[in-house]
């Protein structure tokens, strides 16, 4: 077994464990963990199955397997960043709505308080 292979196996397994633990502890929501689990899983598979990378590279017509790894991982990172921006936009929208509702409710509450005092 190559030294680099041992390093990737350890690194990807450690990463997989980290994602697992975060989901278990409730620090990462399941819906966001899916993508991480999926790609860490792929990473683990390819770090064990050395020939697989070469095979897939040949399939895509890519000369160096390393280029395949870079291309795919950069692409996935980009897509995931876009997804996070969408999530942030959604959160901002909900946050705004909540703040407004709360401020409006506070007015009604003050009004009620005064009415109760009068009675």
């Amino acid at each position: 077994m190559l030294r680099i292979q041992i390093i990737t196996i350890i690194a990807s397994l450690a990463f997989l464990f980290l994602v697992f633990r975060m989901v278990v502890k409730g620090r990462l929501r399941e819906e966001y963990s899916i993508i991480w689990l999926l790609f860490t899983g792929i990473l683990v598979v390819f770090s064990f199955w050395e020939k697989g990378l070469l095979l897939v590279s040949n399939l895509f017509g890519i000369y160096l397997p390393a280029n395949l790894v870079f291309t795919i991982s950069i692409f996935i990172a980009l897509v995931y960043l876009l997804h996070l921006s969408v999530v942030a936009s959604k959160l901002q929208k909900q946050n705004k709505l909540l703040a407004q509702e709360m401020a409006l409710m506070k007015i009604e509450m003050e009004k009620m308080k005064k009415e109760i005092k009068i009675k």
Binding site: A99, M102, K106, I107
Partner: protein
């Protein structure tokens, strides 16, 4: 009887707010109008909250800073909730003299438009702002003409009157930051009649404009994009 809600979005306006409110209290509008003033404190870091509490106004106290659009929208939501006939957005810094409100209301009565904009540019009097800012405003004028087909000169003006239809639409959707030009595209797509009336504006008596020079480029890009997307979005 017509109920008007004056919405004053405030971010750190403790200096100018008391005078503005007392000016508004002394305002003379035709008999049938019943004016209420609503201050929206957009999570100010100064004493705006306390100052407003001591005044005889409806205070919408936002727990987080939402930006001018979110603040105005809160006021529109309040107006919708309490069934106001008209709402007027007015800056908290004293840039929009309350006396000019009469012109806006007169324009509304005359034209029945859903949205009346107080404009600095139809008649050139009073405070005209700097060259660069005027350049930007000219750009937005053309952009607006392109997107809405209407000639609106002061599309960045934050002095505007909403009727019931506009209140309802604005309460549902209003852009967050730099909302003025974009909302025009939105309102005009929804088929609302938009009219402009000349008003006199004065130099800011305190606080700082939400549009500062180093962010003005970002402002242009953001607003252009927002107007474009508002234009192609299905309403």
């Amino acid at each position: 009887m017509m109920n008007i809600l004056i919405i004053i979005p405030c971010f750190n306006e403790q200096a100018s707010l008391p005078r503005l409110i007392s000016d508004l209290e002394n305002l003379k509008l035709p008999e049938k109008y019943n004016v209420s003033v609503c201050v929206v404190n957009d999570c100010s870091t100064d004493d705006t909250q306390q100052v407003a509490k001591n005044l005889d106004v409806i205070l919408i106290d936002l727990p987080v800073n939402l930006g001018i659009g979110g603040a105005v929208q809160s006021g529109l939501k309040y107006a919708l909730l309490h069934d106001y006939d008209l709402a007027v957005q007015m800056d908290g810094d004293g840039q929009h003299p309350p006396a000019e409100l009469q012109k806006m209301v007169a324009c509304y009565e005359e034209t029945g438009a859903s949205l009346v904009i107080g404009s600095r540019f139809i008649v050139k009097e009073g405070f005209q702002s700097s060259f660069l800012r005027r350049l930007g405003i000219t750009y937005f004028h053309w952009l607006n003409k392109f997107f809405t087909g209407k000639s609106i000169y002061d599309s960045t003006s934050g002095f505007r009157l909403f009727d019931k239809k506009a209140i309802k639409l604005g309460a549902r959707y209003y852009p967050d930051d730099y909302p003025e030009p974009e909302s025009l595209v939105f309102f005009s797509k929804a088929g609302l009649a938009i009219k402009e009336t000349p008003v006199i504006m004065v130099h800011r008596s305190g606080g700082q404009s939400s549009i500062r020079s180093f962010t003005s480029f970002y402002y242009c890009v953001k607003v252009t994009l927002a107007m474009f997307f508002s234009f192609i979005r299905k309403s």
